[in-house]
Subunit: 318 residues, 2 copies
């Protein structure tokens, strides 16, 4: 195994995460206390006693003193190898931290729903990068429940989610709302209309996402508001797949606007009940933001109401 030589300059991360190790390695490498002390940017007597303390606590002599020189014991030599590897590992980890937290080039772990993937998020990122070209992103797509889990597990900094989760451990800010269309096949009896009430398809078969998806919950709730329980013909995992099912006449669906107009289906506005889903920005409550995360969060919050492309916000509700 090859270990890269760890820099032991006084500013090094290892000196704060594992000062004893760094001190020992510095002395062991140079076999010279004063020089090691200079390298570490600390007084020689302090280092001398620090090493002596280490030896006393370990109960093993690491350095052999010969007059004004020191050399490594066999024990010290063996420990040096392990200490070098450990230090390299610490340095690697700390460097990754530092890099991820850098305001200009750091990393943002950003999650969002599949339905926001093709258009909304790319647009957002494009605009954001104009001002912050070197911030890196780790993009995660998942459904709502999994997103919340990742947020809580600590793997995700921010996410766009719908509906807004109620978990007290998750902080949410509503950013925008997205119209949901009733999607019917081209030959459907309502295909000529522009606007419909949801109750008009109470008897139609529905194609929906599987239970657990936010959109499924919203669909169920809207139908309940309209006074019926939807008859489920098919359950799927992707909205574009659902549109395909609608296109071949297998049912109707409540879906966010399509990325591109699709043949063989008609998108109808729903007048009653008000068919929208809330898009929120969520993060772990109490999670302190690294600079790049804070920057991106500010950017997103500033786009409240104009998050989604080409869909003017209705007068501020509630």
């Amino acid at each position: 195994m090859h270990t890269t030589p760890v820099e032991l300059a006084s500013g090094s991360w290892a000196t704060v995460l594992a000062p004893q190790l760094a001190q020992f390695v510095a002395v062991a490498r140079t076999e010279h206390v004063s020089r090691a002390a200079a390298l570490l940017g600390m007084p020689q007597p302090t280092l001398s006693r620090s090493i002596a303390r280490l030896e006393a606590e370990l109960g093993v002599a690491l350095l052999a003193r010969h007059g004004r020189a020191v050399s490594l014991t066999r024990a010290g030599r063996e420990l040096l190898a392990s200490a070098e590897r450990a230090l390299a590992e610490v340095e690697r980890g700390a460097e990754a931290l530092r890099a991820d937290a850098d305001p200009a080039t750091g990393l943002v772990s950003f999650g969002f729903l599949h339905t926001l993937g093709p258009e909304t998020v790319p647009g957002l990122l494009h605009d954001f990068r104009a001002a912050n070209p070197r911030i890196r992103f780790q993009l995660v797509q998942d459904h709502g429940a999994a997103m919340v889990a990742r947020l809580l597990a600590g793997g995700l900094d921010l996410c766009l989610i719908s509906p807004l989760p109620q978990d007290p451990r998750v902080a949410v800010r509503r950013l925008d709302e997205q119209r949901l269309n009733l999607v019917v096949p081209a030959g459907h009896r309502l295909a000529g209309r522009r606007r419909v009430r949801l109750a008009e398809v109470a008897k139609d078969p529905f194609v929906v996402l599987e239970t657990g998806y936010g959109l499924r919950r919203i669909t169920d709730e809207l139908c309940a508001n309209a006074g019926f329980a939807p008859r489920i013909a098919f359950e799927g995992e992707e909205t574009e797949t659902l549109r395909g099912l609608v296109a071949v006449g297998l049912g109707v669906a409540l879906l966010p606007p399509p990325v591109l107009p699709r043949p063989n289906v008609v998108e109808l506005a729903v007048t009653a009940p008000r068919a929208v889903r809330q898009i929120g920005l969520a993060w772990r409550e109490g999670q302190p933001d690294t600079p790049p995360v804070a920057t991106f969060k500010r950017f997103l919050l500033a786009r409240r109401g104009s998050l989604l492309p080409g869909e003017p916000e209705p007068p501020p509700a509630r």
Copy 2:
């Protein structure tokens, strides 16, 4: 890469070699400051502030506080992986140290000359193990100069060596002296004698070890004392090889007694000059001994004068 879970009990080595790392890992694993403090055997407030200090010095939040609970930041989670590996490495190294320094089962790195390998050292070790059956040995055979180098480099705890090195960095105690025989072929003109003076073979060709070997230096010096410079016929690297060369009539040699009597050669005692080589125990000056090394050193020093098998010590010279 698989890292074994590191024990973080208060007695663990990592807590003295890298306390900050151990503390962070304990908190990160449990996501619970009090429990981690209990594990580490330290008061909770101390740990709390220790972690806070770490975060302040790193400039990155590692823990997210939610009321009375804490959880890992993404940064903390990333650091944890590295810290775990580093800690495992430290623990491995420290454990090796501890094992090597254990008085009962520790390791002694012991070097000796090739010529002492077949008989002397095995006998010594046999006797030593009667009292210390579990002390482990790392045996190194080399010639004198290389032995001293290893001693100084720190890879060797003790060694039996001849002649006694003069280096001030090496401590030596004379343990015994070994008679050197003049070895001649069976048909040699002196083969019938029991004792000879070295000068009697002043004109014979010699087979000797290569320059750098202690025995070679001794041979050269003894010949010089006897008033001649040996005519070198062959140089070799092993004494038994030299005996073979003598057996086939290629010269004579000054060698320590053979392991087993060998056909076709005759071993003659040398009366003048006194043909012996000093066998000494040497170690790095100032090198502190681990318990097992100290035990073995005491054992060897106690055998001063009776180190070599079957060769009664002459009246204490010098």
